[in-house]
Amino acid sequence: MDLQSLLISSLGILAIVCAAGSWLTRDNFYSALYMSVAMLFVAGIYASLNLQPAVVLITLVFVGAVGIVTIAVAATYRAKTSRRVSLVWTLPVLFVLGILGYAYIGKPIVEIESAGMEFVGEYFLAVIFLISMMVVVMLSAIRILRRVGL
């Protein structure tokens, strides 16, 4: 397994873990936060494939606009018991995930073409700063909510 496949696998596993955290947490606010972080990992997969325009669009439009509004809505309508997990579903889900893991774990990643999309390449550092700023904003939101005691 080469470095790119390892990076994509790691980012994918982190995205799945964050999505599972979004499912398992009882608080809507933290669920929305986990969902936003999972989105950032999905954008990271695009970044590891050198598709920076897609990274900018996903982080700016989807995470930056819709994700933050979702976090605001979730912080407004927080509920401690906002899920009802049925353990009956766990077995078929694990079965499907096992089949997927068996079928796809050895598949190589296809060669991705990014010709004609280089307009963000020189701004890669700015994109990194943008993502860092969004993480800081999310952490600030958690701190403010904890201070207010919502």
Partner: protein, 96 residues
């Protein structure tokens, strides 16, 4: 591998949707479903980058608009029905 990650995200999003007790959780599950869609577009980049990028842009903006409309609907539902629980949402007389 990317398709497997996308399907895993989609399954988790479906699990969130069927275990949701309020509309905010449904919104979160929809956003996760769209993230799975974004991942599923990646193999298209190996065929034609321009077409795949156009599909991605259209997907991002239509899904963002749809989710913003859903957020507005949640706020309106809260105003009209005094809550965002699943039991309070009904369409055409059928309880969702």
């Amino acid at each position: 591998m990317i398709i497997a990650i996308a399907i895993c995200l989609l399954i988790i999003a479906y699990l969130i949707a069927i275990s949701a007790r309020d509309l905010v959780r449904l919104l979160i599950s929809l956003e996760l479903m769209f993230s799975a869609v974004f991942l599923a577009i990646i193999p298209l980049f190996s065929i034609s980058a321009q077409i795949a990028f156009a599909v991605l842009v259209i997907t991002i903006f239509t899904s963002s608009a749809e989710l913003l409309v859903l957020i507005t609907a949640i706020v309106i539902t809260d105003r009209l029905r005094k809550g965002v629980e699943i039991e309070k949402a009904s369409v055409g007389g059928d309880t969702v």
